[in-house]
Symmetry: C2
DNA sequence: CGCACTTTATAAAGCCCCTTTCCTAACCCC
DNA sequence: GGGGTTAGGAAAGGGGCTTTATAAAGTGCG
């Protein structure tokens, strides 16, 4: 937990690269203005990134009558990053260039019977092999693989401490993956992955305080506090899905009653729909995706049952988000994951109104609520971002320290 | 929001002083071990504090066969700090020495009719004058006055943006106080004051992540995240009292239904009691303090109504605290403020059980729940701590900066 | 009593990081 | 081709922390 001046450098390095990725041909001047750093610092950081071949000089730009500005841009061919999104029913893998553009995709279905770690790892290995093949990348250029797995994760040891959907306990996932994948691996969970994706490339860019609300089958929040990801003491902060919103309310799979997830998770939304229109044709009892899709179409077609179901869902969600606004006082709340994307603007609209009814006026006024602007899978993107962070962090490390220095001093010929 | 190496110094200065206050005759060696800093750094920081006369050298301690360790301790007579706790019905002021021992106290009652800022400020001024007089301190030795006022506060401008109990809106409280009080003033709210008190001197000492739950007439949480106070974007983070716990539940004074405060605030506890024993002799309908006191005595005497009321309150509180545990994943949750102190161990016991029922196992296992160990008014102590932080922060500031330097360059004779 | 050894505290040097300042490079325009 | 202007790099400077050397102050033993 000790802060050192090294951390400042790392943060600045992140900030500069983030800025370059966001606005790709850009000048050092622009970077200095955007980051608040001095020109000299920006220049050295840009130099570092050039040395790493993560960015390249791409030309010049006229300056008002003086020497033209040199432009730098992400070096798309400077490396590749892989993001792996392991979910209950699928493994989704994307390979990105350094501009975080998707170069290749692969998806594997995970059947309910395939809940053994080895089986899941097999799917991951296959999919990772597939994207590398598809992209025609030589292995050495893959800078790292970020892996998101649901539940609680210990990043230091690379174990999945607890994955509720498969009832995994302390599975040494990283060790298992290492046997199949030769690239540097980074493990975390989808909440933090999507939060990091928003922080680097999405709606939370440049914000010091943001809450990324994930609405999927499960529900949770990724917390960006004080400019960085908040992990909590055991890397499990953000477990918002099992917050009690209705004391003695609906039974949740976690064993408690009235959890947020039972009202605004995909299954919860299905329950909301059933309560409103038990016979509604929108309801596909065994298919969450189909039901949410149908609900979205229903809203678009002005189906009253669909509208009421979304309204009701937004009422719960609004109360929950208002709690987050009151507690964290964020600049922005981002609604992410597939349920949020599918229901889109109509849901957002209702949520904003519901939040306005519940939240305290001052924090509310300081907060905007938006849909995630990330067009692809935010979890894959976030996982890849973990790999990018890892690659960037390694820069700062001194490599050999005393052993190397001592050896080089004795073996190197005096120049 | 930019981090600079200066911030590291400030944090280390805090850390060293905190350690000295906590364990008063102590050696540089111990400080280095406790803070993780090098001996040299500790020595310079100790030197700074000696120069400021905040600490003094108090003797020597035998070392195992070498030069004896120099001991330093807080210089109690090196200055005084004042903490002001403005609440709905009273103004409480305490004057501390630098060891944060109370040297003098004053209390003023604020009648419901006296809701004008000028009236409240008058009480504060009187009480501050009184404690300075009582302690027989010369004014120059007062390093600062920390003021806690309920509601939302803008520290930069020193205004009370919104105080619900008196319906204040954007009252320039610091300006008003400056007319009566000549010492440096620091403004914030009770949630953050008690959190800082726990962080410096209480149960959160040395913890990077802690949640301080305030149980009084109002309810809220002070958040210590990543080693420091989390303020949010507009300094209103921690408003936990108006989190929805029971959708469509009890009507709250904030206009919503089912807020945490309506179940675990003093008024909420009175409602719990009334529901259980409408005719109970414990109930003093118009006196919160008396009722909570009676409830505590009832529990001690094994009164079944009292026990059930506490049990029921703990059920609500446990659900709420479990939410905080899931969301923040703190190392420790501290129950603070007068309701928590009055109900004490019996409440704590029930709350622990209730939290265990609601929280996720992993975060729960990482968290302890305790009562505040601070014997005096934590809000006064915390407010005084703000003043202490302010006095220490000012050390780092370069005084004249460029104007001074430019002037000295032109006016100073060449030496 | 004196010398060797131990431990503490301070001073010096080194490294890291950021900024400011100065100077050269590169371009425009007249 | 010389000002004027802007970009970018190199050097100096300031703040911070650590490691290393040195001075200071004891203990212990011959």
């Amino acid at each position: 937990m000790k802060r050192t001046s090294r951390d400042i450098r790392t943060a600045n390095r992140y900030e500069v690269l983030r800025q370059i990725i966001a606005e790709s041909p850009t000048s050092r001047q622009e970077l200095a203005a955007a980051t608040g750093l001095s020109l000299a610092t920006v220049a050295t950081l840009v130099g570092e990134l050039l040395d790493l071949r993560m960015i390249t000089e791409v030309g010049f730009e006229d300056s008002a009558g003086g020497r033209p500005r040199g432009l730098v841009a992400v070096n798309s061919s400077g490396g590749a990053l892989i993001g792996v999104d392991i979910a209950e029913t699928y493994v989704h893998v994307e390979l990105f260039d350094l501009g975080l553009n998707v170069l290749a995709r692969a998806e594997e279905d995970v059947r309910p019977s395939e809940s053994l770690p080895e089986q899941v790892v097999g799917h991951v290995a296959t999919a990772v092999g597939s994207v590398v093949m598809q992209a025609g990348i030589e292995g050495a250029r893959v800078l790292g693989v970020g892996v998101s797995v649901p539940g609680q994760v210990d990043r230091a040891t690379g174990t999945s401490e607890y994955a509720p959907n498969w009832d995994w306990h302390d599975v040494p996932l990283l060790d298992l993956l290492t046997e199949h994948i030769a690239y540097p691996l980074y493990l975390d969970n989808p909440l933090r992955a999507s939060a990091v994706a928003e922080l680097w490339f999405g709606a939370a860019r440049g914000r010091g305080n943001a809450v990324v609300v994930n609405l999927g089958t499960g529900v949770g929040a990724g917390l960006v506090l004080g400019g960085g990801l908040h992990r909590g003491v055991s890397n499990s902060a953000g477990e918002w899905g099992h917050t009690t919103m209705v004391l003695d309310g609906r039974l949740c799979r976690c064993g408690n009653h009235g959890c947020v997830e039972t009202y605004v998770g995909a299954r919860g939304i299905m329950l909301n729909l059933r309560e409103i229109g038990p016979d509604s044709a929108l309801l596909h009892p065994d298919d969450q995706t189909a039901t949410i899709d149908a609900l979205a179409r229903g809203v678009a077609a002005d189906d009253p049952v669909a509208r009421r179901a979304v309204h009701e869902t937004a009422r719960y969600l609004g109360a929950g988000v208002a709690d987050l606004v009151n507690l964290f006082n964020p600049e922005i709340v981002v609604l992410s994951s597939w349920v949020a994307r599918t229901l889109g603007e109509p849901l957002l609209h209702e949520v904003r109104e519901a939040v306005a009814r519940h939240a305290l006026p001052r924090p509310l006024a300081a907060t905007q609520i938006v849909l995630s602007p990330i067009p692809t899978d935010p979890v894959c993107l976030g996982a890849a971002t973990f790999a990018l962070e890892g690659a960037l962090q390694a820069v700062g490390q001194r490599n050999g320290k005393r052993t190397t220095r001592a050896r080089s001093r004795t073996t190197a010929p005096p120049s």
